[in-house]
Symmetry: C2
Subunit: 675 residues, 2 copies
Amino acid sequence: MADTDPLVLFMPSGKRGRFAVGTPVLEAARQLGVYVESVCGGRATCGRCQISVQEGQFAKHQITSSLDHLSPPGAREARYDEVRGLPAGRRLSCSATILGDLVIDVPQDTVVNAQLVRKSADDRIIQRNPAIRMCYVEVDEPDMEKPLGDLDRLKASLARDWHFDDLAVDTHLLSQVQSILRKGGWKVTAAIHQDPSADRAHLIALYPGLKNEAYGIACDIGSTTIAMHLSSLLSGRTIASAGTPNPQIRFGEDLMSRVSYVMMNPDGRAAMTNAVREALNGLIDRVSADGGIARSDILDSVFVGNPIMHHLFLGIDPTELGGAPFALAVSRAVQARASDLGLAMNDGTRSYLLPCIAGHVGADAAAATLAEGPHRQDDMMLLVDIGTNAEIVLGHSGRIVAASSPTGPAFEGAEISGGQRAAPGAIERVRIDPVTLEPRFRVIGIEPWSDEPGFAEAAETIKVTGICGSGIIEVVAELYLAGILSEDGVIDGTLAGRSPRIVANGRTFSYLLSDGEPRITVTQNDIRAIQLAKAALYAGVKLLMDRQGVATVDRIGLAGAFGTFIDPTYAMVLGLIPDCDLGRVKAVGNAAGTGARMCLLNRDHRREIEALVGRIEKIETALEPSFQQHFVDAMALPNKVDAFPHLSKVVRLPERKAESGEGEACGRRRRRSRD
Amino acid sequence: MADTDPLVLFMPSGKRGRFAVGTPVLEAARQLGVYVESVCGGRATCGRCQISVQEGQFAKHQITSSLDHLSPPGAREARYDEVRGLPAGRRLSCSATILGDLVIDVPQDTVVNAQLVRKSADDRIIQRNPAIRMCYVEVDEPDMEKPLGDLDRLKASLARDWHFDDLAVDTHLLSQVQSILRKGGWKVTAAIHQDPSADRAHLIALYPGLKNEAYGIACDIGSTTIAMHLSSLLSGRTIASAGTPNPQIRFGEDLMSRVSYVMMNPDGRAAMTNAVREALNGLIDRVSADGGIARSDILDSVFVGNPIMHHLFLGIDPTELGGAPFALAVSRAVQARASDLGLAMNDGTRSYLLPCIAGHVGADAAAATLAEGPHRQDDMMLLVDIGTNAEIVLGHSGRIVAASSPTGPAFEGAEISGGQRAAPGAIERVRIDPVTLEPRFRVIGIEPWSDEPGFAEAAETIKVTGICGSGIIEVVAELYLAGILSEDGVIDGTLAGRSPRIVANGRTFSYLLSDGEPRITVTQNDIRAIQLAKAALYAGVKLLMDRQGVATVDRIGLAGAFGTFIDPTYAMVLGLIPDCDLGRVKAVGNAAGTGARMCLLNRDHRREIEALVGRIEKIETALEPSFQQHFVDAMALPNKVDAFPHLSKVVRLPERKAESGEGEACGRRRRRSRD
């Protein structure tokens, strides 16, 4: 293009180029690789290619952009506006041509049909480039002189108008093409699946006339909860969301008990595969109904889960994941037809599973990594998803390492005397007065704190039944901050004289947190369980930091439900996570689900995570000689050797005492157990 | 390679090259693109890579080939010979290395397992390059340090040893890979499907250990008979063959009545699709049992059929093929999974259908063209397959044209007063004495001719019930040669006085062929029906000759059962086919079935026929203005305008008479009917 041609800048991508006067904006976008949706292929009928013009002088870009640098609406665009209505300021980029310099906005949420939007999965706007494209074509009618088949003429049209030159066709369409072409009067919309990029594009569905919608689902198969989002592939909008408990829970509460179930029962694997697939089919029903769409309009689907969920969903026996060498049957991304995975949507619907990172670090961790993007930043970011196994990822744009740590179920309230799941009646926040040693706490389902008016009344309805994960972390941290707990995690029995809360319990002491019915105490064993769990996690983090050669991290993301509810300050006091600017420690919510949605809406993200997982260095904590020492050091509160300078600015940590015999004994014991 | 390196010539391909001393023969073959089977990948365990040495001086190639120009058998080859036994003179090309100049024979029928060979489909040896390869690999065991999944390590091995770098995996294998790898002790054989070449190779089946066999079926779905061959993909040998009547016959005897059935019955299409698929499954059972193999060991399948059989097999409504513009739903080659077509073999079995040429010229005609290869020769070859529609192909290496002609069912014995299918009791050969006008004939199931001793006795058991297609052609031709029939096809009533065989029949006359019970006569109407049929066929041939700009053809191939049984001389006397050296008119048997087998055993033949069909020029006879005149001219015996010089050397044709009123009237009538 000549230097004097108009300069066009597309936002938000920032891509720019010069184009001859008269070039349609859609064509300019295509040439620059800016993704602008178009189903009708430039016929001004689908309305998907909307753009708007930013008017004004953009000195930085040396562009003076003006609405009248676009051609005025022609007959076809005016007709669309009249029939379907264009929002104010919006133009159809297939019809509007370039007359002068322009700054063009490509809205990422162009909604054409009046969709019910029940819930937004999160606020994140995901640049779209879905694996499914809807392509309207007009097909030549049959001609005795050129006896090409209906399907072959359709393929010729798709090659001519959409440049799909070597299209494969799903077998189920062979018998349908003929009648669909005639029903549409030789005008049809083809759904084309093009992913992975190395494979041929496939024709997966065909509709008479203009089909101006297509949907996809993104699904996080958690061991406790299965969550699903329904998104429009053409607007990117989340149309509906739903969740359901994982019905595999009836075979085993935690992952290892499910693996045991498979090992003990000949039909166990099939039963669990069926259970999760049935639950998924139920969720598909719900999101379809909520979104007011047909199941058959769902053409793509993305799934994430930890390795055991991933294997069971695919029908793979997870037994090998139950013991060393924790061999995954399939680690790389999986592309399949949904019907082959027992999911009934459209006959052509595709399914994509993100890759697993390692035998204990699954597709969910990969998705969370994709969503949080340590590889897209220079900060050294720690990403932690705490479950029975904590999945840990540490890195930046240069290098990423990952591991899992066997934290056990203590953070979920198991192995803790008063522990329970996060549910009404569970203590979730705790404060202890360092002078009186008296506690106050907050209970799920009860608004006031325990020392505030109205608590007692409320507690008569919602009984205080136990303490959940976030409460456990806070009570142990507060016991330490109040001086009741030594840095080695021993309850100081000498304080029993000062407070009735400190009570003897055989050879050790407990702390009475709630004296209602039931009495809720924190025992020395409870504290040991939490120490073991947090030490395992921290030791895993330290191994990754060692591998990265860093002593501190710049950011921390806490993923999953646990990460959402714990207070980062207390997590740090406990020494669950390393020292860091607390302003840069964030709960990142269901990052795995967000990563799944990213892969649903943009196939480039699939390539991104596939390439990334290929270069993530996996560390098997059990094989690392230094794990043991890190573990022993991390038994202390917050840590025997590591400093917490950022934390110290916010919280007054007790002064370090000389090394106590207890901690040392613990360390020696563990070392011996290894010999 | 240096000029002094040994020169190696491979036969029968004739490919040659120089290789360093010590190069394994298998490696040399690979480098030259000579297909030598190897399942074990050079471990001297599968025995598939056998070759032999032609000893002697080959002056033309300047090679002196000697057995001792191969390295002597090493320990591994000796071990194979000891355990499995090598035929005399055979060597394993993976183990034998090149020491000097060699002429190497690559046998095309290396049989390793002791296979029962019940029937050879035909004598043709098909160079092999099947779409399925069996690839033995040894897979790395799981390693905690490199947490790649089992499947991914398998893929890495297949990339390393067999250069499959971007292998896709059938979904049904995901859940099986883990246990198969362990069952085989990390040694497995992968079945890889690689076709069409543009697509990714797919892993379709996996076996523990060395799996040294794989099979395929080639199938011709005729409207009357379905024929199937079972072949070893590794040796190329046909292991078993079977045929069965097409059960669709119960819905309609001929093609058009089956189309009508679909049009009249809502479930007609599904019923006919199920019928043919059931019949195919039955044949698969039979050939598997005959061959002593498991259905699941059949990994590839190839199908041909006319357009209506092709569509019904694929589940496509054939109604559009019943009327202009005779639009095919699918014309190009189809690649699918056999299970998607209702055929139960292995879950990974693939199916390939050859392309159709036009709405009336099907995949069977394409297969016959591939088998007879007009495109591989410089002679102008005519290929004719006569059925209710005759499929006609004419061409040579430069250009090929094709058409169909609506011959109707007369050649099959329908519309003929004494007509019947070719079955015991049917007259199949006829001679008429030109002096006495007395006939003699031969009957299917009776060895002597009707005027020979023993005929009368035999005819008491096998009653003479009618006349079949080849008999009809002969009797009409003989009537003409005997002077009973004019060149316009009129029975000369004046001869009634000379012979009691010429009998009045209303306003016309008949010829009494057999005076037994039933009496079998040839009526004037019968002769008209044959004239109409042969004129349609000949007119179609003439259109193709016009398009090619030729007045004669060099060779004629008569395909199918009808082509096998008719006598080419009589077909030419009748003017069914154009004049040609009778020594170059040949029945080519089930050429369609042979073409299917070629595509089964060598995927290059698939590319060959796909490319060829793309460049075959299709002529729609109904649209050609000159068809009508060709048709009228061809009503005469053998033809009103064309000379038959080759035929005249063999047969004394009656002298041409002046144009008769009858023929002219017929011509005029036909011309009028077009106005």
